[in-house]
Amino acid sequence: MNDKKRAIKISPIRKGTVIDHIRCGQSLKVLKILGLTDVEIRDVVSIAMNVESSSGKKDIVKVENKEISSEELDKISLISPETTINIIRDYEVIKKQRVNLPKRVSGIVRCRNRNCITNQREPVDPEFKVISSEPVNIKCIYCEREMKEEEISENLL
């Protein structure tokens, strides 16, 4: 019964990417990170928030017709490390994997330190070294200030 209800909420897609187990409330930020809030995006994007699952509530994002590269998807791990990715072809999951935190992160988040040189008018992208993945902790390679999950989420570009 439950399964049926869920199926109504977000129907299966024929082809594309299902981003599952997104931390509750972070799905809109996931869209932002992946650049899916762009007005030029033509593909159907569906979002479900606060979906009940065996491990508590979660958000889900489905992007039709688009197989998003794992490099792109790994960026999500900054704000939702438990996220899993399903690549769908002909309604079948052909690939399933968890997002992995890359060693370096660039161009997704700005430094929380307002006095960091990267927050001035300089020709560089903010860049961070990943210190730890659980919990997420990144360090600005310029000013050496560290940022935790909550701060990352507040400073998305």
Partner: protein, 313 residues
């Protein structure tokens, strides 16, 4: 003279980029520079070379010491100590200023009010960059001269109980020094009023690295078993009002009474400028080493200049 060890850095940006071996190598090199730094001997190993001092905020002592270090090695300096005269006032990016300045000189020394400025400069400069302080960030030559002073005065850095007093919460000097000392086998004592104590993050890292530390609220209760007392300034602007500041500042004054309780060979250091933290009456006692510490900036900076430019003494 060839020393054992290696120095493979293109720039000096942060003390966190140094291993303990690299620190010791720089300090050994600085020791060799002493007779020249003091004017007893002369050299011209950097003859014909130009150092660009780019000081986007004033710091007379640091600028003069880089100038002296370069000239003691036979080199020349150009630069500015006032950002009003630089093109950044006209809206030029630091990246552009550095690109141009590094085409005029052989080495660039940068002081800047924004954190991370030196790292950015190192990406755009065609010549070695030496960080002379970036905002509340790093000031690696200060840390190296602090370490040099401790080693010179105490023979070794390891084995000492080192007390660090003052504004431990916001002070960049004490954070960098603590990081560097944690690479050695030292006992650390942090002395500060509770609101200005060492950030929890730094304490946690010390514990994880198995580094023992103590915390005290005033110098008097901590001073008796210290080998080194490193005093820093408590800034007025950190307190809600003058009364609060004076109350705290008073308990952070090192005077003749304080040192009565100290070990006879304890060394007092201070990065200067000082305000009221150390009474002038202490200056003439054998404990005071802060003026020697400032003088040690010359051989340490000479060592870094020669290493970055790949010229041996």
């Amino acid at each position: 003279m060839k020393l054992k060890g290696e120095f493979n850095k293109d720039h000096v940006v942060s003390i966190r980029d140094f291993s303990i071996e690299e620190i010791e190598y720089v300090l050994d090199k600085a020791e060799l520079m002493e007779p020249i730094a003091q004017g007893h001997e002369t050299t011209d190993i950097l003859k014909g070379k130009i150092l660009a001092n780019l000081f986007f905020e004033p710091s007379t002592r640091t600028m003069l010491s880089f100038e002296a270090a370069m000239k003691r090695l036979g080199g020349n300096t150009i630069g500015f100590a006032n950002p009003d005269v630089s093109s950044s006032k006209k809206g030029e990016t630091l990246a552009d200023t550095i690109t141009v300045a590094s085409s005029y000189a052989d080495i660039v020394v940068l002081r800047h009010p924004q954190e991370g400025a030196a790292r950015l400069a190192s990406k755009f400069s065609s010549k070695p960059v030496l960080n002379a302080g970036d905002g509340a960030g790093q000031h690696p030559t200060q840390t190296l001269l602090d370490l040099y002073t401790i080693r010179k005065e105490r023979k070794e850095i390891s084995g000492n109980k080192i007390g660090i007093a003052g504004d431990l919460k916001y002070g960049r000097t004490v954070h960098s020094l603590t990081h560097a000392l944690s690479m050695y086998d030292t006992e650390l004592t942090f002395i500060a009023p509770p609101p200005l104590q060492m950030p929890k993050e730094i304490l946690r890292r010390l514990s994880e690295g198995g580094i023992g530390y103590e915390q005290h609220e005033n110098i008097d209760e901590a001073v008796e078993d210290l080998d080194v007392l490193y005093v820093t300034r408590i800034q007025r602007e950190r307190f809600p009002n003058e009364e609060e500041y004076l109350k705290i500042a008073d308990s952070y004054n090192v005077n003749l009474e304080t040192i009565e309780k100290a070990k006879k060979d304890m060394v007092i250091m201070h990065p200067l400028p000082r305000v009221d933290e150390i009474s002038p009456e202490v200056d003439k006692t054998p404990f005071a080493r802060y003026f020697e510490q400032a003088a040690n900036g010359i051989p340490v900076r000479m060592a870094l200049l020669s290493l970055l430019m790949g010229v041996e003494l």
